[in-house]
């Protein structure tokens, strides 16, 4: 089954978002081929270049507001805990406008997968710095350069208690792989995607500096080691960029804490089926 829409794709030619889209579609189409229904899935996007993904994937859901992807996803899970929810945000969305929701999402631990398309810039508004843009970055709004150091979202998510913290590169294969890993984990899955903007924040040799975390070079059940790995890339200077799963820990899932939602999961129903 093809889950494309009729909408023409308006990302810049060569944009790394194409890779994310292709990886996501491939994964979902594969799931449907294996017997899942298209209506089992829900997709939520914020506002920015990343959000156009909503227009190119014909799954149910909502193209919501800037910064509000996570509470919207949570609302959908509360509305119907049987839905498999995928949230998409940009770095402006996740780390600037909506950062409070990100921290709380880690705490709630609702069973959903959340992608942050991190291009370290507000691209669709033509190139202003976000909370993860490197120091001294200049643009028309900040001609004297960014004075603050960027935030490290991986460290932030680890500190917030997130049970699944990962980073991949905007590469179809990476997306497919991490989606398969995420599927195996119950809880809030934070996945940052390094997605260089080809117009406003060029790839400064990022890909060459990436390497994969694996069982030989990292223990993803060790919190301190995860923190150490998270510090290897500070979004400011690029030495090396670890990719893969930094940390994974099973934690109580939001939906399982409320009897009504737990029961809905058991009987595969939701509020809409309740007659009062």
């Amino acid at each position: 089954m093809n889950i494309s829409t009729k909408s023409p794709i308006t990302w810049c030619p060569g944009c790394f978002n194409f890779q994310i889209l292709a990886g996501f579609k491939k994964f979902i189409e594969n799931e449907i081929a294996k017997g899942r229904k298209k209506t089992d899935f829900a997709i939520v996007s914020g506002i920015g270049c990343h959000a156009k993904i909503f227009d190119y994937v014909s799954l149910n859901g909502i193209n919501s507001l800037h910064g509000r992807v996570l509470p919207t996803c949570l609302g959908i899970k509360v509305g119907n805990p049987n839905l498999e929810v995928y949230g998409f945000s940009g770095d402006g969305d996740a780390y600037s406008e909506g950062i409070s929701h990100l921290i709380h999402a880690a705490r709630y631990n609702s069973n959903m997968t959340y992608f942050v398309h991190n291009n370290q810039v507000f691209a669709l508004t033509i190139g202003q710095p976000t909370a993860v843009t490197e120091k001294d970055f200049t643009d028309k709004t900040t001609p004297q350069g960014v004075k603050q150091a960027p935030l490290n979202p991986i460290k932030l998510m680890l500190a917030a208690g997130c049970g699944f913290v990962a980073r991949v590169f905007a590469d179809t294969k990476h997306i497919e792989w991490i989606l398969k890993e995420a599927k195996k984990h119950q809880g809030f899955k934070f996945i940052e995607v390094i997605q260089p903007c080809i117009v406003f924040h060029l790839d400064k040799g990022y890909k060459e500096k990436t390497y994969m975390l694996n069982s030989k070079n990292h223990d993803k059940t060790n919190f301190e080691k995860a923190m150490k790995k998270a510090e290897e890339f500070n979004y400011n200077k690029v030495n090396k960029i670890p990719l893969g799963i930094f940390y994974q820990e099973k934690k109580p899932v939001f939906e399982d804490q409320y009897k009504m939602l737990k029961d809905f999961k058991k009987v595969k129903k939701s509020w809409k089926d309740i007659k009062r």
């Binding site: 909503f54 609302g75 929701h101 939602l261 509020w271 809409k272």
Partner: protein, 494 residues
Amino acid sequence: MKLNILFGGKAGQGPNFLTNLLGKVLIEKGFYVFYSRDYQSLIRGGHNFNVLTFSNKPVYSNESKMDFLVALDENTLKSHQKELKKHAIILKGKEKNSYFAGRLFKALGLSLKELENGLKKYTRFKENFKLAKEGYEKTKCQIKELKSKKKKLIFQNGNQGISESAIKSGLDVYYAYPMTPATSVLTELAEKQEKGKFLVLELENEMAIINASIGSAITGAKTMLGTSGGGFDLMAEGLSLTGMAEVPLVIYLSQRPGPGTGVATYTSQGDLNIARHSGHGEFNRVVLAPGDPRESEELTNQCFYFSQKYKIPAIVLGDKHLAESFYSSEQKPKMVPILKSTKFARYNSYEQNSEGSSIEEPELIIKNAKKRLEIQKQISKESKKFSQYSVYGKKNSKNMIISWGSTKGAIIDAIEDLNCGFLQIKYIDPFPDIEKLLKNKKIILVENNVTGLLGNLIREKTGIKIDNKNKILRYDARPFLCDELNMEIKRRLK
């Protein structure tokens, strides 16, 4: 017969317990009871008081002069000395609450049995009743026996009416971030969620509240949220999204004085315009303003009706005075059944095509806008099936008071002996056709705000300009008292 009793003390001393206990017992005896709460934004100490007014005729407001003063501390006596009638009875002391209850019941000529039955509704009955009995026996009766015909009265406050209605309307999920004076809907529903099989959730902030509400609503869950002005402001963008994406959502906006933090625990009707206009862009909404707990039930129910049927946000516009004051009512609310018809599909905050994907073509933008306009017309037409306004008092008089929301009670009590009618607007949006009712009338506007917001709305909708001299506006964050209001109206009558 009509008596006013003021209960005052420090926060935590429990004037609420005494007021509620007496109120319930009087209701059971067949008296009409109204009580309001005046409390400060603090946890312990300070000065809180309630005024309970009761009568064997219907009563919906307090008066300015007290027949009885129950002073749990010295400050109460000092602060309210000037409000006492000449032969007012004063009960003061530092005893425990339940002891005081005994004294009060005896002073009012109520029986020990009535005290016992009243206390049974509360926790720690044995301990309380023992103390209460002591107090009862050490006090002298101060007034003639209170008599009234027994009748079935519903005794509740506005927030209880709203909560009750949400449940009866088939609520699935209620979201809120605590904010006075909406909070007691949150606690009321939280308490009843297990039995009622619905869910109550508190999230990190008001942006989360409205966006999670949207998420739940689009899956088909009947969803409601509650807040006050400041929280509602934070939700404005989400509200606008519901207008674009056509999301059915009921919003309880409980007003308190602004701007800013204003006066957090007091009352005002200053948010009429944010209820009407908050959120960027032009979109459909319903705004309904109840004037008492029974109307709170009916109009919350109608908000569910309109929001589910037309996939729009519907706002119940209340205020602190209505939310937390207790009213007695003989009539049961009239409720309409509400269908659940929302299906999980593709929703969009952008203008969208039939696939639910974003578009920018002018033809489609016009088509969508026209569709929204058409829905507005349907809502407007259907709203006429409901009671959009009520007229009280002498309907054919040349004088017409006009108001909305919680001022209703004081106005009804104030105009009893006056030559005037009272038009209460319940539907703020869509606004009813009231021109005929106001033709050749002297209009007197009564509102709990600084600038007469309903007056401005009437001018916008009908062209009728209300003379500034005929605007009775109270903006000290306190509700109207019926005797004072009676004087104010009298001065303006033809």
